[in-house]
Amino acid sequence: MLNFLYNTFWATWIRKACTILVVLAVVVPLAIIIPGRIGAPERCAEGVERSAGECIGVNGSGYDFGTEEIHQVADAIGRENERIAGDKDIVSVAMMLPLQPKSEAESAQLRSELQGAYLAQYRANRSENKPLLRLVLANPGADYGQQEKVVDRLAAMADSPRDNLRAVTGFNLSLDNTKKAVTRLTGELRIPVLASRVSADDLANSDDQSGSLRYPGLARIIPTNRQQAAALADFHGGLRDAETVLVKDLRPNDIYDESLAKAFSRPEPGPPGPKDQPFTSPGINDLGDTGNDFTTIGHNICESDARVVYFAGRPVHLRLFALKLAEVPCHGKKYTVVSGSGAATLERYMSPGDWEKLRGDDGAGATITVQYAAPGHPDAWDASLRTWEKERRAVTGKAPAAGDRPAYLTEPQGELRELRRLIERQSGGDIGPVTLEDSRTMLVHDGVRTIASAVFLANAQAAGAVPTRERVTAQWPRLEARYRVPGTSGWICLTNGGNAYDKPVAVVKLDPGTRRVAFVGLGWPERKPQPADCAVPSGTG
């Protein structure tokens, strides 16, 4: 056998040559293909490995993780990182969020968030402060499924004097994996974490005065769901009881529904309006027989004077309720349905036909308008200032002086103007189209600004240019009053639990006619604007 092989494949030069060519033709492609498929994981880019079909890892060199929408902004981040690479005082900030979304809408949202992060980095690195910020992108996979690998990598980066990872931000979904990642980052690894867009009450330190923190080193810059509901209810505080009705879901163990119902149930002035209209849904995304309930509820509401409906329920039920309410003929009566921040995802459940129904057919404005609390809105400051001036004029009879205008409105307004200017000038290079409306860019921008403030503050107080992680963590509670962070979404002053104190929410309405989000007004979780200089009052933890 061996001799046969030898004689067939190796006996003469021409046989040797043919054999070698054939073997090379087979082996080389295999050698290129196989290692990627089996054995050692294939590299997507530096620091990023292919795992379970996704590119998991941490990268700061401009890799876009295969997502076309973020190509430009990732490239801009890479360039900025490269520009500062020569400097020896550099700290890294990781942006941890799923970077390979499936849908186009999610990709666009992701782009907005990265743009915010980049713009904040761009500003921080030109503020004459040291150390410089290096922004790295960390992809934990869809639904944070592979966050462990990324957290491992981040831990190594935090310990590495070359990377100096000093904070992790991102976290746009309130999921179990998110919670695990934050728990490990803060608890075990002691890495400062700033959650810019997580609203779950679970992912926050409580502001009681026990002093022990669930997530040591966690800071957050938007109100929790409960605070949002409170702010929303506060916004509608001027309505008489007869004008409002509460539709609430009684399904047990749903904190979101409960907190909304509780916030909406505070006493209102005037004669009593219609009583609360309860229903019980079978599940978060389960409709069951709720359709019939909604029709009857719709008829009852039609009979009453109520035109503002508080809806304490999940978006799936909100949609059906809105549709049923629109279907009930009620002499051209128009409703405003007020719901929690979950309504921001309402659009996802609506078909074009649904929008048609909500719009109504009489041409005199939409039948149903949905209002909810958003973490921010670009029109918030201009509109609020106008409202404030109007009110002052109504009170004092003359236009207020410029210096009297409240700083909690003017400072964010200035910041936002600064940001807009930066975007328009495009001095940060091409980062793709920027839409401020969805507030993501603003929120993430504010988050990275907050981190930068903490790092600068830590640096200014300690010897050595690069502060330790503990120093950065220790700065979170300092960021108030004198050291408040004037964010584009409002002042950020952190409580000792790391929560933003009385951070305003933008009450917005979703107009079925335009399907755009329009600013309605500001809501305050503490039912009053932030105190002057944003000093957190005692008793807040």
Binding site: N3, Y6, N7, W10, A11, T12, W13, I14, R15, A17
Partner: protein
């Protein structure tokens, strides 16, 4: 017999053949030995040593991996073909044609070896007969068509041209031109050959004597030389062989050849020690001496020990220092170191410089035992003694000659020789081999004589002597030196006109490759036994045997007793040897008893050995009994002792069965006891007794001799 019996070392993966051909028998590549100048490998060995079998092995085993051509120069077919048209064919051209045909049929790596140069030469020769009619010439030329290369590199070069040209040649039958036929053929050939073809023919035939670079002139001269006959024809034939070797070389040096071929091609010439073989080997040797190197491995067989007389200068004995070719035997180990000696003028230096003599290996005792064991039909358990007796008998008779071993092994395969005295060498030779329809079979001795003598007579033996060549040798089996051989020959050929002298016969035997022994005319023990046996049976009751011995006895008796005899010491002793062979031990004892007092002890012992070597044939063997003193012998003590000694020595010297320990113990004692006699040279006898004792202990013959050297 397995084909490669005894050739392990030669055919090994790193053996000589594999290194010469660059391929093992399994087809693995091996580093090439020698080169670019190659020796002609002569496989040298007497009859029955397996030369032809080795070539068959090379052909069969290696021929699968490298192109080989196998030619049996002893076959009459080439001569018969050549004689059909002696003007345009000769035996070498027929052989070359056959070689080209065999290389052309090669289908292994690289494909067929094309031979356009040889074709051109053969076509010119075929067309060269000025007297033949055109039709004959056309058919002669067309006979070589099969050598026209097909496919391969020549597809576009000579093939198409050749086809067209063959058509034109055929057309010449219809329109015989005014010009000589050969001109027409050559013109047509050259006109239709492409530029490459012309260049290649010019490079080859332009070098022919007097061609001056013009291929047409060269081919013309070649053809006319061929027509001249004699030496000129030999030159032409030699050149045709060179053309063939250039063809083969070209097949290997071209780019495609280098890529697709490996190893070296081989030309195997069996029975190459005849005229045809010499006519093929000589031009190769001459060309290579002149620096025309090629990679054709020529392996030829030769029986003469020195490879053949044509290799040496006439008159100069083989073995003078500068002539001696490199000689190597596989048992030497390693590989032969051959390189052409520097200096020398081509044409004046002997051809032996370009020869590598490979001596055929004899079988070792282990190989012999394995072979006989393999042939054993039914193994008789527990009868190892008998088998050992047979083995030692085969070893004594064969001396390791493979044919001998195999034939004897076959003959004794079914026999057991249970009786202690039954397994003598004579009994082995009497064993019958069944062949074909003959139920009885023939004695193995006759078969062996057929194989070794009858089937391969010496080349120079005159045809009229062939009939009784075997008889002559049979008579000579009792002769020792040329002198007594000559006496026998004179007597045996008394009635003939053409006689062969004993000296001539000795030369013929040497040409046949039989070894020479200074003490025996027939220098090979096995052959001698075969011939003796035949002589004894030549006439009824061993009359011929007795007659020859009596003749010689009478001859020596007629001489003076003390006349010096080279082998026996004295003529009287020589006579006594033959007398003993005839059967009269008493007279010999008397003679020894008488001379014990008159000769020196040393001389007496030598005479005793020479006399006692006489073979015992056709009589009851009482030697053992008499050696041990068990027989009644009249006379005094010394006489009795000498009688015992004579028979003991005879048992040891005429060795036809394994030594008997009783005899070997007694013999030195008897000799030593003779020293007790007052007149004896006691010291010499004691010393001799010890020497003989030592030799017997090693089972060696008492008197060393070329033909009995392997015993012991």
């Amino acid at each position: 017999m397995p084909d490669d019996l005894g050739f392990d070392k030669l055919l090994d993966d790193d053996g000589l053949v594999a290194r010469l051909l660059g391929k093992t028998r399994a087809g693995r590549n091996r580093k090439l030995l020698y080169g670019p100048d190659l020796p002609v490998v002569l496989l040298v060995g007497g009859p029955g040593t397996g030369k032809g079998r080795l070539l068959q092995c090379v052909r069969g085993e290696f021929g699968r991996h490298v192109p080989t051509a196998h030619i049996d120069c002893g076959l009459p077919v080439y001569r018969e073909q050549a004689e059909q048209h002696p003007q345009t064919r000769s035996v070498p051209t027929e052989v070359l044609r056959e070689v080209a045909r065999q290389f052309g049929a090669w289908q292994g790596d690289g494909g067929a070896v094309a031979t356009p140069r040889l074709y051109a030469g053969l076509a010119a020769v075929a067309a060269s007969d000025p007297l033949a009619d055109t039709a004959t010439l056309v058919s002669e030329v067309q006979r070589h068509d099969e050598l026209l290369p097909r496919g391969s590199f020549w597809r576009g070069v000579l093939n198409r041209a050749g086809r067209a040209y063959v058509g034109v040649v055929a057309g010449l039958v219809a329109h015989p031109g005014a010009v000589p036929f050969i001109n027409a053929v050559l013109d047509e050939l050259l006109a239709r050959t492409s530029q490459e073809g012309k260049a290649l023919l010019a490079a080859c035939y332009g070098e022919y004597t007097g061609a001056g670079g013009h291929p047409k002139l060269g081919l013309h001269s070649l053809a006319s030389h061929f027509q001249q006959g004699g030496e000129a024809r030999e030159v032409a034939e030699g050149f045709l062989f060179r053309a063939l070797r250039q063809d083969i070389e070209a097949a290997y040096v071209s780019l495609l050849g280098r890529l697709s071929r490996a190893g070296r091609p081989a030309l195997l010439l069996d029975h190459a020690d005849n005229a045809l073989g010499r006519r093929l080997v000589r031009p190769v040797l001459e060309d290579r001496e002149r620096g025309h190197h090629d990679r054709l491995v020529v392996m030829a067989t030769a029986r003469r020990e020195d490879g053949g007389r044509f290799l040496y200068h006439l008159g100069g004995a083989a073995g003078t220092d500068d002539d001696a070719p490199v000689s190597w035997r596989p048992s030497d180990g390693g590989l032969p170191r051959w390189s052409r000696p520097s200096g020398g003028v081509p044409g004046l230096t002997p051809l032996s410089r370009g020869v590598l003599l490979v001596r055929m290996p004899m079988l070792t005792r282990d190989q012999q035992s394995r072979e006989t064991a393999r042939l054993q039909v039914r193994r008789v358990l527990g009868d190892n003694a008998a088998q050992l007796r047979i083995d030692s008998g085969i070893h004594r008779l064969s001396g390791g000659r493979p044919l001998f071993v195999t034939r004897l092994g076959e003959a004794t395969a079914a026999r057991t020789f249970r009786e202690p005295g039954a397994g003598t060498d004579w009994a082995l030779l009497d064993a019958r081999v069944r062949s074909g329809e003959d139920a009885e079979g023939r004695p193995v001795a006759e078969l062996l004589l057929d194989d070794l003598i009858v089937r391969q007579p010496p080349e120079e033996l005159p045809p009229e002597q062939r009939g009784h060549w075997l008889d002559l040798l049979s008579h000579l089996s009792v002769a020792h030196d040329a002198e007594c051989a000559q006496i026998l020959m004179r007597e045996v050929q008394a009635g003939r006109d053409e006689r062969l002298s004993a000296y001539r016969i000795a030369e013929l035997l040497r040409d046949s490759g039989w070894p020479h022994c200074s003490r025996h005319f027939i220098g090979d023990l096995g052959l001698r036994r075969l011939l003796m046996r035949r002589l004894y049976r030549l006439r009824a009751n061993g009359a011929a045997w007795l007659g020859d011995h009596t003749l010689l006895r009478e001859h020596y008796r007629a001489l003076e007793d003390d006349e010096a005899d080279e082998l026996f010491g004295s003529a009287a002793a020589h006579g006594m040897h033959h007398h003993l062979a005839v059967g009269d031990a008493e007279a010999v004892t008397d003679y020894l008893d008488r001379t014990f007092l008159t000769r020196s002890a040393r001389v007496w012992c030598d005479e005793l050995l020479a006399i006692a070597e006489a073979p015992l044939l056709g009589r009851t063997d009482d030697r053992r009994a008499r050696a041990l003193g068990e027989a009644e012998v009249t006379g005094d003590v010394r006489h009795k002792r000498i009688d015992r000694l004579l028979h003991a020595v005879r048992l040891c010297e005429d060795r036809t069965e394994p030594l008997d320990e009783a005899v070997t113990d007694t013999l030195p004692k008897l000799l030593e006891r003779l020293g007790e006699e007052p007149a004896a040279g006691a010291g010499t006898l004691t010393q001799t007794a010890r020497e003989w004792g030592d030799r017997l202990a090693h089972k060696q013959p008492l008197r060393p001799c070329t033909c009995t050297r392997h015993i012991g």
